[in-house]
């Protein structure tokens, strides 16, 4: 019995930091409507700075002073980020905001390694809370008791701040109607900045308070952000009480889940999240959000199928690509195959994101599931390659069917957070369930059969499948199903009002996109000869998003161009620098701020400008319908 009580208290202590970070995320979202992906990064910097300061400053005052000082310093960094970056993208579609803050996260991950090194850092114990208390033979660290008390205290302080101060009233008003607050003479800019500072302070405090409990390392940002997303999805984004309750719930589920499913404890949290989403899609304490911007891009251009000339040009490009083995060496062919596979991956995400308006931040899950599908079938069942290639992607299909069902219940940022959380869950299973998946060692020796083994043959296979997939998805965009899907993207309510089952359309699109990604993953497994948990990791999901964004999220063919350019660039970059995350993150931020329309979008804009400047005639008569290719 005493053991369970101790386990319960450990859970409560873990909840404190989780609550601090989640409430910060919630407060920021409430006012700015930005889901700050970089929140985990601020948490991590808080821990690193606190580590450095506690090493330098001595004594009790030095320790506690360092914690607060670290949180303040990070809040200052947050203010800078808000003023320099976020102020430019408050009016951008939410996808861009998510990506920009994610880019920031990537940059921070490399920066902390540059400053503090790659090794885990073990911090000082808190003065006055070094020992443990005996509870019927079980030890409870006294620092845990401190954290258990701290959580409700912070909740109380936040409550007073929001209910009893003018600032709090203004923040609550702005949460509901920002423009009206401005129309009453309040300077939104500084309100936003101060809210961001408070949110970041909470995240950094959460990180700083972890140092006596846990080692500081450069991957703690992703671990916390996924947990925080789960917390805010359960508790309701924008609700501080919800963040507290859900933080306790999730921490307890983790604490007891380990006892029930030691290998895959995260399953329990997932089950609870699924139940909450079915019963209350906006979380226990959240409110239904009015759908804000549905379109993933900045503007909406009508789409049109390719003209016959453009079809011929595409065919010519494909034929030229097919001649690559005639003059290129094996390395170039391997790179070519990889690019073709990523075209499949990008096109599948584009279908979900640009056509369906559902920006998934965990699309790699289905890519990776396809890859694991191949590994299971080829290695364990020993099936022939053709059969494997046909059946392997079904694992991606099944994953998409299960997760997609829950994900399409939500939209916008909730959808993004949920898909990320799902992908992270799949990753954890692949990572932890060593007996089946091989864990971190992966599954090796997944090689193609003889007929596809040579680089040129495999290249043709990959190219052929990529072309086929692209054509099929494109035909689908201009089919009745595609029209219905685009209708759900542009207006969910009106779509349902004309008798379309919007959720089923979205779910179908999710499954199609997941299966297609699985095809890409299947080929990828054969190309690499192995499967690792990284094949379904976050960075791969982000790669897909960047490919679509780079090509142009508002266009039909952007994903293909984006995948080719990005993958080529990426392969070259990794060979050139150790700081690829820093460069990639900076690159993402740059696209979002400077080139939000992507490559194809920019080309279209230039073409339109040329068309506009040349034709004579009255502007009243000639109202050209602009369209995206």
């Amino acid at each position: 019995m005493a053991f369970y009580v101790v386990q319960f208290l450990t859970g409560l202590a873990s909840a404190a930091s989780l609550f601090l970070v989640a409430s910060g995320l919630s407060i920021i979202f409430g006012v700015t409507r930005i889901v700050n992906f970089a929140h985990g990064a601020f948490y991590m910097i808080g821990a690193y700075i606190a580590f450095t300061l506690t090493e330098r400053l001595s004594g009790a005052f030095g320790f506690w002073g360092s914690i607060v000082l670290a949180a303040l310093a990070v809040a200052l960094i947050g203010v800078l980020v808000e003023m320099v970056l976020l102020r430019r993208i408050y009016h951008a579609p939410e996808l861009f905001q998510l990506l920009a803050t994610f880019g920031l996260t990537l940059m921070v991950e490399d920066l902390v390694v540059l400053v503090w090194g790659p090794d885990d850092l073990v911090g000082r114990r808190a003065p006055g809370f070094k020992g443990a208390i005996d509870f019927f033979g079980q030890n409870i660290p006294s620092y845990d008791l401190f954290l258990i008390v701290l959580g409700p205290v912070v909740l109380g302080i936040l409550w007073l701040l929001f209910q009893r101060t003018r600032w709090g009233v203004l923040v609550r008003a702005a949460t509901q109607d920002r423009d009206m607050v401005a129309a009453l003479g309040v300077n939104q800019k500084w309100l936003f900045t101060s809210v961001f500072a408070v949110g970041v302070f909470l995240a950094a405090l959460g990180g700083a308070l972890q140092i006596p409990r846990d080692a500081v390392h450069h991957a703690m940002d992703l671990r916390i952000i996924v947990e925080v997303f789960v917390v805010v999805v359960i508790g309701g984004l924008g609700s501080i009480v919800g963040a507290f309750v859900a933080a306790v719930l999730v921490s307890e589920l983790n604490a007891f889940g380990i006892l029930i499913f030691p290998k895959i404890s995260i399953i329990l949290v997932f089950l609870v999240m699924a139940v909450v989403l079915i019963v209350r899609p906006w979380g226990l304490f959240g409110k239904p959000e009015a759908a804000a911007r549905k379109t993933p891009g900045l503007t909406v251009n009508p789409w049109r199928p390719l003209t016959s000339n453009e079809r011929l040009a595409s065919l010519a490009a494909l034929v030229i690509a097919a001649t690559l083995p005639l003059f290129a060496g094996n390395y170039a062919l391997t790179v070519g195959s990889e690019i073709a596979i990523f075209v499949i991956f990008a096109v599948s995400l584009h279908f979900l994101m640009s056509v369906g308006g559902l920006a998934s931040f965990g699309h790699a899950a289905y890519f990776g599931l396809g890859a694991y599908g191949i590994a299971f079938l080829a290695k364990m069942a020993g099936l022939p390659m053709i059969v494997c290639l046909l059946l392997g992607p079904l694992l991606g299909c099944m994953g998409a069917a299960v997760f997609g069902f829950f994900a399409v219940q939500l939209s916008g940022v909730y959808f993004a957070m949920l898909t990320l959380a799902f992908a992270q869950i799949v990753w954890s299973i692949a990572f932890q369930w060593v007996s089946v998946t091989g864990g971190d060692n992966g599954i090796l020796g997944v090689w193609p059969e003889k007929w596809a083994a040579s680089p040129s043959h495999f290249y043709w296979l990959a190219l052929g499948v990529a072309a086929l997939v692209t054509i099929v998805l494109r035909v689908m965009v201009f089919s009745p199903f595609g029209y219905a899907l685009r209708a759900t993207r542009d207006s969910l309510l009106r779509t349902e009002a004309i008798g379309i089952n919007a959720k089923r359309i979205q779910w179908t699109a999710f499954v199609i996109a997941g299966t297609t990604a699985g095809i890409g993953g299947a080929l990828f497994a054969y190309l690499k000869g192995s499967v690792f948990p990284d094949n379904l990791g976050i960075s791969l999901s982000v790669d897909a998003l960047v490919m679509v964004l780079l090509g142009g999220v508002e266009t039909v063919s952007g994903a293909v161009i984006g995948a080719i350019v990005y993958k080529a660039l990426n392969i070259w970059l990794v060979s050139q620098t150790d700081l690829s995350k820093l460069v990639l993150g900076g690159f993402i931020v740059l696209i979002v701020v400077v080139f939000p329309k992507g490559i194809v979008g920019m080309l279209e804009m230039l073409a339109q400008r040329r068309r506009k400047s040349s034709p004579p005639g009255s502007p009243l008569l000639a109202k050209p319908i602009e369209s995206a290719e």
Binding site: R166, V169, A173, Q176, D179, A182, A183, L184, G185
Partner: protein
């Protein structure tokens, strides 16, 4: 002149909404902006306070051009705005709604306190701690006016204050607007209801399809039934 609007043009995306709008408001005057649904009344107000991004023209308030300023600065200069949709903060109580509108005193404008506003709108005084979302339409209309008055404006843009209210509440609204005028607040009120406008206004402009097509005193408007019938539905 308290407020002079010249050559105001506004767009929503590709749609041109307002065409060369121009009108004036004198010190302490109540001016009605009359027009049908969709004529451009609300867009005119939103443009003046800077809530429409694409606009051009000159907006002189107390002798200074405010057209380049952001919304909150225009409002802080003493130009209050009461939106048609009321836009009460539904999660906030009456007191908290008033707190959001609070600004410092202004030498050239009456100073409003909570007590003064509760005297002007007695209903509000009885529900200080009620959340805005649990009030009737008439009570919300009173609250939205009171909230703007907390900023001590010297001029208020009142967008369709009588819309959707019962006759009894409309009477209260007339009294409140006349009290505001007596205190020295200049007012521009947009209306479809000519009878209501007549009770409170010194002068009127008629707006139709984004253009001003009449300007004059209420007596001059009454002398032109043709204009009245062509542009206003009675």
């Amino acid at each position: 002149m308290k407020l002079t609007v010249q050559d105001l043009n506004s767009h929503y995306g590709p749609a041109h909404i307002l065409f060369d709008i121009g009108f004036e408001v004198g010190e302490g005057e109540v001016v009605a902006l009359l027009g049908r649904n969709g004529a451009g009344k609300s867009t005119t107000f939103r443009s003046i306070v800077g809530l429409v991004a694409q606009r051009s023209g000159r907006i002189m308030f107390e002798g200074k051009d405010v057209s380049a300023k952001p919304t909150h600065e225009i409002v802080r200069d003493g130009l209050g705005y009461v939106p048609e949709e009321r836009r009460i903060f539904t999660d906030l109580t009456v007191e908290e709604n008033l707190e959001v509108g609070k600004q410092s005193k202004r030498p050239n404008a009456p100073h409003w306190t909570r007590e003064k506003l509760f005297a002007l709108f007695p209903n509000l005084g009885e529900m200080k701690n009620r959340p805005g979302g649990r009030m009737s339409g008439g009570e919300q209309q009173m609250l939205t006016i009171a909230r703007t008055l907390m900023g001590n404006p010297s001029l208020v843009l009142l967008d369709e204050p009588s819309e959707g209210l019962s006759p009894k509440i409309v009477e209260q609204m007339v009294d409140a607007i006349l009290t505001m005028k007596k205190e020295g607040v200049s007012i521009v009120v947009s209306e479809q209801n000519l009878h209501f406008a007549r009770l409170i206004s010194d002068r009127a402009y008629i707006i139709e399809r984004g253009r001003i097509c009449f300007g004059g005193t209420m007596a001059e408007l009454d002398a032109r039934p043709d204009i009245r019938d062509a542009h206003l539905s009675l």
